[in-house]
Amino acid sequence: MGLLTILKKNKLKEKEIRLLMLGLDNAGKTTILKKINGEDISTISPTLGFNIKTMELDGYKLNIWDVGGQKSIRSYWRNYFEQTDGLIWVIDSADRKDRFELCKKELQSLLKEERIAGASLLIFANKQDLPSALSKEQIQEFLELDSIESCHWNIQSCSAYTGENLVKGMKWITNDIRSRIFLLD
């Protein structure tokens, strides 16, 4: 049993999970965070820097880091990789074509990072309440998610606006992290 395993086991005892939420600007990261937490989502402004929220789910304490998505901030993302158990990648499913290309590029370069290679990956196909939103199957194909081998992943369609499927996605990532840490024994 290596040091990392011991660290992870200790962490499990405390039942704390660290999640990092990333994605392009205007994907809806802060809105997801606030909606899950039951806060008002009508007065959100773009995130400079980051927000942290702590919430309880199935007896686990989730620390969620929501980092701004604008281009000039993306270079700071790497500062938050350390000790991340799970990555939540948020997509505006109704975005423009060129932004989807950009989204694919950013996600792929993120997955090459060693420090988050083992983390569970949840992809939120957000803004499903909009008529022009692509389905999660279309997004899955476009982002070539099936070629991801470095980690466990799951794509979940959702709407931060209505709150639909947000908890479902959070439950998946919490469960996946839990089972993954047990497997290391």
């Binding site: 205007n26 007065t43 402004s45 400079l48 820097g49 604008q70």
Partner: protein
């Protein structure tokens, strides 16, 4: 420094603690019984107080009173009939009657001040409506406003196209500012324009400060966050004294925005240790506390137009 007056002491030490507020209410109750008077009546009688101060004190009393909750709702958010009805109820409850004769002078002061207060709450509605108008790229008026902001800040520099990386030079997130206004809608844009128009040199100076090599921040996005902050301050009643002592208008609200912007820039570059954009939320929280303290102390609100070098 301002004189520490009764209203400031109340805000700082009494209303801020539910325990002290309870004790204070018991004392008021006993005094009221003994003198057959009320705090509200005494304030309306006090000839030494300026109308601004009286209005602000009435706002405090109405907000923290348990007995006047329904009257407050009717006065500030209701129809004209509801206002008159509530006004009459307050006159009775708060001893504005002497053996069934109305104390006319005091009652008049009360009505005048209530009408001024009502304006501050109406302003809140007007601004919320503006914030709820989402930026719409298909609306020519909105598009013209956006271009106006560009010209005010960048002068002769031409935009290569409507969607352009150049927007980032004035602190938007990407190639199209349309998605950046979010919950602040058209209000966020109009406030940026107000600042760039009425304090053009200062706005340009602050824009250049925001390009700092290490401690850079995004000018326009910060502006949108400042609009959100100001709306919070308004909804949490911190702007009441400012609005009463100036005028409860969009223009006063916009002037305060310019004050916020210049104060934020100074605050950002005067941290004990230089900060980066990743400290933004932390810095923004302590900035809000500082502004609330300025407002509570009724410090003068002056837009700092001095071009400091950072």
């Amino acid at each position: 420094m301002n004189n520490i007056t009764e209203d400031i002491i109340l805000d700082k030490y009494v209303y801020s603690s539910s325990f002290i507020l309870k004790v204070y209410k018991i004392i008021k109750y006993v005094l009221g019984k003994l003198s057959n008077s009320s705090e509200l009546l005494r304030i309306c009688q006090n000839e030494k107080l300026r109308e601004t101060k009286i209005t602000y004190r009435i706002d405090q009393i109405l907000f923290y009173s348990d007995k006047l909750k329904t009257e407050r709702m009717k006065l500030l958010n209701g129809t004209k009939e509801q206002l008159e009805e509530a006004y009459e109820q307050i006159l009775r409850k708060k001893k504005f009657y002497d053996n069934n004769t109305e104390k006319t002078a005091e009652a008049k002061v009360l009505m005048k001040c209530i009408l001024r207060l009502k304006e501050t709450y109406e302003l809140q509605d007007i601004l919320t409506k503006k914030a709820n108008i989402a930026y719409d790229s298909n609306n020519q008026e909105h598009e013209d406003k956006l271009m106006e902001l560009w010209t005010l800040l960048k002068g002769d520099e031409k935009l290569n196209s409507r969607k352009s990386e150049q927007w980032q030079t004035i602190g938007f997130q990407g190639v199209d500012p349309a998605t950046d206004f979010r919950g602040m809608g058209i209000l966020g844009l109009e406030q940026l324009i107000y600042f760039a128009q009425n304090f053009n040199d200062t706005a340009k100076h602050i824009l250049s400060c925001s390009h700092h090599k290490y401690s850079w921040y995004s000018f326009a996005i910060t502006g949108i966050n400042l609009t959100a902050l100001e709306l919070d301050l308004l909804r949490e009643r911190h702007l009441q004294y400012y609005l009463i002592s100036h005028e409860a208008s969009i223009e006063s609200f916009n002037e305060f925005y310019c004050y916020l912007f210049t104060e934020f820039n100074n605050f950002w570059f005067k941290r004990p240790e230089p900060v980066t954009v990743m400290h933004f939320n932390e810095v923004f929280k302590s900035f809000k506390e500082k502004i609330i303290s300025n407002l509570t102390n009724q410090s003068p609100i002056i837009v700092d137009t001095e071009k400091k070098k950072y």
